[in-house]
């Protein structure tokens, strides 16, 4: 953790000095006032400078990357973790390495579990509003495409047979892909049924 302790005539002056030294913005730090300034009597007797301790806050992304390195170490596998993109609501982290399959699990079960735990843990260290999205060797992208194909195939079958089909349980994010893929398909409607984590998409013929 990067820290600077600085003095100044006022608290603000001391903080500014610390920010210059650390090379960061005000929003990235936590300020602890160690000593309030005191002008003293007649400007000099008992005068005291302000003293502050400025600490650079750990971001969710930094925490998550460090945490994931420790987790993969504990799993005994070698993985590189890097931030590959961000938006207002998400930071995307990608893990790359030899034993990707182990981290993905059946239908992404392990990956989703790990992503959930990383988010719970990261929100304990920082209030930043974004969520961490994990991917391993492009799995989510491939899964996204596979889900769209599945959705179209199921829609085709529902239209042909006129009978509804219930898909396997999926996490919310994956159900959303299916709903969106079939939104503009004629002849079928979609909705979800059941309780998490066993909630499933149902594709029915539209009347």
């Amino acid at each position: 953790m990067r820290v600077a302790i600085k003095r100044g005539r006022t608290v603000e002056e001391a903080v500014q000095e610390a920010l210059r030294e650390l090379g960061v913005e005000r929003e990235q730090v936590e300020v602890e006032v160690l000593e309030e300034p005191n002008r003293g009597f007649l400007g000099w007797l008992g005068a005291r400078m302000a003293e502050v301790k400025v600490t650079v806050k750990v971001t969710k992304s930094q925490f998550a990357r460090e945490f994931l390195k420790q987790v993969t170490n504990a799993l005994g596998i070698e993985m590189r973790v890097s931030e590959v993109g961000r938006s207002d609501r998400y930071v995307f982290l990608e893990l790359e390495g030899e034993e990707a399959g182990l981290l993905i699990g059946r239908r992404g079960e392990t990956l989703n579990a790990l992503q959930y735990l990383v988010n719970v843990a990261a929100s304990r260290v920082s209030q930043e509003p974004y969520r961490i999205v994990l991917d391993v060797d492009g799995y989510r992208k491939r899964r996204h495409e596979a889900l769209e194909r599945l959705a179209r195939r199921v829609a085709e079958r529902v239209r042909r047979t006129g009978r509804k089909m219930v898909l396997e349980p999926m996490p919310a994010r994956e159900r959303r892909v299916v709903h969106l893929a079939l939104q503009n398909q004629s002849g079928v409607t979609t909705h979800s049924e059941g309780q998490e984590p066993y909630r499933r998409v149902v594709v029915s013929p539209s009347k």
Binding site: F67, Q70, V71, A74, L75, G76, I77, E99, L102, L103, G105, E109, T110, N112, A113, L114, Y116, L117, V120, A121, R124, E196, P197
Partner: protein, 76 residues
């Protein structure tokens, strides 16, 4: 596996120093018993068991690597 569970649990609770894990090794299975501070039990289990389910999924992957099955029990 014990190390992994400790790492996950410590990141989730308010009293990481009070997290204890015992590993009971069988031939084809491993039982991991975890104890946390009483006020942290909810943090390790989560709403409707969501957190403990995620922990079990990750531990399951670690166990699979060694060709074993793992059970994670929260002791109160």
């Amino acid at each position: 596996m014990r190390e992994l569970l400790l790492l996950l649990a410590k990141a989730l609770v308010d009293h990481p120093d009070q997290v204890q894990v015992q590993q009971v090794e069988g031939q084809q299975s491993v039982i991991l018993e975890i104890r946390v501070a009483p006020e942290d039990v909810g943090k390790i289990i989560g709403k409707q068991g969501r957190i403990i389910r995620a922990i079990r999924a990750v531990i399951k992957a670690a166990a699979a690597k060694e060709g074993k099955k793992a059970a994670v029990e929260v002791l109160q």
